[in-house]
């Protein structure tokens, strides 16, 4: 599945304030290994994405999300399912 550019851009924008200044973020960035996001920050990310896209993200999908692109694809799938 192709990554939706608008969703990718917005997710990266939401991530920026959650990571240290100057830390690069792209689609291959690993949320935990590269960015060191702890569970609280991951939930903050999820809540902000939910608000911005007006969707609910089930916790069940999170174990399969490692990278930014995994997360974007999961969001796209939620839109498709709707």
């Amino acid at each position: 599945m192709q990554l939706n550019k608008k969703i990718t851009k917005e997710v990266i924008e939401i991530l920026r304030p959650l990571v240290p200044d100057g830390q690069p973020v792209d689609i291959e960035t690993d949320l935990v290994a590269d960015l060191g996001l702890d569970s609280l920050k991951v939930m903050k990310l999820v809540e902000t994405v939910e608000d911005n896209f007006d969707i609910s993200i089930p916790l069940n999908i999170l174990p399969d999300v490692r990278t930014v692109s995994d997360f974007v694809l999961a969001i796209q799938k939620l839109f498709e399912d709707e």
């Binding site: 569970s39 609280l40 939930m43």
Partner: protein, 392 residues
Amino acid sequence: MMTIFEKFQPLAETRQQLQKNASNFFNVVMEEIISGTEATFNGRRMILAGSNNYLGLSFDSDCIEAACRAARREGTGTTGSRMANGTFSGHVALEQELADYFGRRRAIVFSTGYIANLAILSTVVGPGEVILLDADCHASIYDGCRLGGAEIIRFRHNDVEDLEKRLRRLEKRKTNVLVVAEGLYSMLGDRAPLADIVAAKQKYGAYLMVDEAHSLGVLGDNGRGLAEEAGVEDGVDFVVGTFSKSLGAIGGFCVSKHLELDLVRYASRPYVFTASSSPSIIASTRQALRILSTRPELRRQLWENANWLYQHLRDLDFNLGPELSPIVAARFENKEDAFKLWSNLLEGGVYVNLVLPPATPDGHTLLRCSVSAAHTREQMEHICKAFTDVKG
């Protein structure tokens, strides 16, 4: 290659930090249990201000006597699951008494409160259905959700607007939705906005489960919890609770107005594959349940003590939870500050819970007290003085 223990390295680092700043944290062993509110640790007497023993019933003489009689009569354990040889007449009687006390049609007793949440949440809703849980729900609720096959969605803590938004999004799915909230949230002692949650679940045709673990015996004229206090018991489909707090023992239960709750017994693995509670536990719990109805003065004393500690810590400028309850928690941005105060309180002869994120809301470290009706005036004064001293 990494060893299987490599992933625990962050825990090792936190432990090292704790050992440096609060070395006793890993060595709290109660040596002599003097009462429900006092024990010795390292040979010194200590007031227990973090034991969830809200009504002090773990040392009630009638409860102890009932437990001893049952052990002599029926043995120390059932040695079996409820589905096999582990259903004694006491288990059945307690289930009926819980149903009567709550005014519900069915009750199931479980071996712990944790298992009660695993059993209900992993079974009542399944694949294709949805659980909407408050973000600050207890770990046992999260674990129960994970054990089942339902879709799990969080709503912001105590935010009914956020809950409604999510219920609205789910409307077109036309599936069963179970909303989950707690009576009193265990970390900060705040209540759920239950009347509004009930209104929302009714508007969208959802079901509601309320965990009254910390509110049973504490809230409501008869101690039935937040649903009683808020006047919305009819709107709650499932009440889950524990015997390990106000009832002074260990165990869990679920009561419901739905007759079909009985069917959960056959479908729920945590119920089927666990040994049932020992006769002594069932007997003391039955006695404690009678006390909830017959001794409302315990609840009054509990709230008097809670009010006293809450006001005192507020006057000392501690950053407390948002409302008065028997759970009085001071929040700290800086872990080291909390470690130091916790150690100093222990030195001062007072044990409170030191709770670290992510088990706490908003990433705070907590010094969490839980007040008991059994705390005497002198003990309350000692606890307050210890906090004054550590605040410096």
